[in-house]
């Protein structure tokens, strides 16, 4: 039918052995993320946590969800999802990261609120 390029695609069956390796890796990564949380890495803590989480998610997507063996179109859909999520997150954060109020204070701008003479009193 349409998109004949996929017509020859036959189902790829992932053997249980692969699944076992993946679940083992996932459990190890879980242990790693908990361990990393107890080490003071400063601002890097969140980065490490997210990197490990992304590794885990990638394993799940590629193997448990068979994305590795899926047609290109599926991969395109996944990439589109990640891309649009990035638009949502990063373009919004760009506003917060560059917001400065009249006192030169960055977001949230509620600090030292008492410095402003309140007309409400």
């Amino acid at each position: 039918m349409a998109d004949h390029e996929h017509a020859e695609h036959t189902e790829h069956i992932v053997p249980p052995r692969t699944y076992m390796i993946i679940i083992f890796s996932l459990l190890c990564l879980t242990a790693a993320t908990v361990a990393a949380a107890y080490v003071n890495l400063g601002p890097l803590n969140i980065v490490v946590a997210l990197v490990i989480a992304t590794m885990k998610a990638t394993l799940v997507v590629l193997f448990f969800m068979h994305a590795k063996y899926s047609p290109k179109r599926t991969k395109l859909v996944i990439m589109a999802g990640i891309f649009w999520l990035a638009i949502l997150l990063f373009m919004t954060l760009s506003d917060y990261a560059s917001r400065v109020d009249y006192r030169g204070i960055r977001y949230p701008m509620t600090q030292n609120i008492a410095l402003v003479p309140s007309p409400r009193a």
Partner: protein, 245 residues
């Protein structure tokens, strides 16, 4: 549209049908990514702004319960994947076994989640009028599930956090809102997934799935794994914010 065996009338071939179903599911999962993306964004901004409140909130969660749940959910994903494999290779006896295991693990997750939620209600950590981040520290007798050491440790943490953020009680509510919002939506997805699994189980016991036609197993598997992925992110974001202090 009439159905001929496993082939629905609007399709020409089984191949096309399977292709279509899988594409549909993946697109649906992308909408789910965007759905959780919205609350993740709210979380990110509020956490960045009120880090001390979020760190304090995170410390009141039980790492044991959260960690156990992570393992439980990963294991359920594994059993689900094995279920899909059983269907693909035509092991008609094994499929219901793996589906049942997945459901059981799902319910273990719900059980642990229930314990956690109940604790939060008990400790006055649900946003609203009765919210009081200092409740257990000020009323140790009412929080009988916490040991004296735990209370003592929490008092230290609380004092530090309050020194850093005088408006802690307000901002901590943002953390718990994110906590209940995110885990609540995740749990809702799990409930839907569990419902689908029950349906699959019924069908598999009737021997409906074969190596030629196992699309529903495949699709529910995709959904279940996605829910797992959400938790993979929720766990470090909610439980592991600032554990090293």
């Amino acid at each position: 549209m009439h159905r001929t065996g496993a082939l629905f009338g609007q399709f020409e071939t089984l191949e096309q049908q399977k292709d279509t179903a899988s594409l549909g599911m993946w697109i649906f999962l992308v909408t789910e990514v965007m759905f959780f993306g919205g609350i993740m964004l709210a979380y990110t901004i509020n956490r960045h702004t009120y880090f001390h409140a979020f760190a304090m909130g995170s410390k009141t969660l039980s790492l044991t319960l959260g960690g156990t749940n992570t393992v439980v959910l990963l294991a359920s994903s594994f059993t689900m994947a094995m279920g899909v494999w059983s269907a693909q290779v035509g092991k008609k006896k094994l499929l219901p076994v793996f589906l049942t295991l997945t459901i059981v693990l799902g319910f273990v997750f719900f059980g642990i989640k229930y314990v956690e939620y109940a604790q939060k209600f008990h400790h006055h950590l649900v946003p609203g009028r009765n919210f009081d981040i200092t409740y257990c520290v000020n009323n140790p007798t009412r929080c009988e599930d916490m040991s004296a050491e735990e209370i003592k440790a929490e008092r230290v943490e609380l004092e530090e956090a309050q020194a850093a953020d005088p408006d802690l009680n307000a901002h901590a509510q943002l953390y718990y809102s994110a906590y209940f919002g995110m885990t609540g939506l995740h749990a809702l997805h799990m409930i839907i997934g569990a419902g689908l699994l029950f349906w699959l189980l019924g069908q598999s016991l009737k021997g409906r799935f074969s190596p030629e036609w196992n699309t529903p197993v495949d699709l529910v598997g995709l959904y279940w794994h996605f829910v797992d992925i959400v938790w993979i992110y929720l766990f470090p974001l909610l439980y592991l914010i600032d554990r090293h202090n």
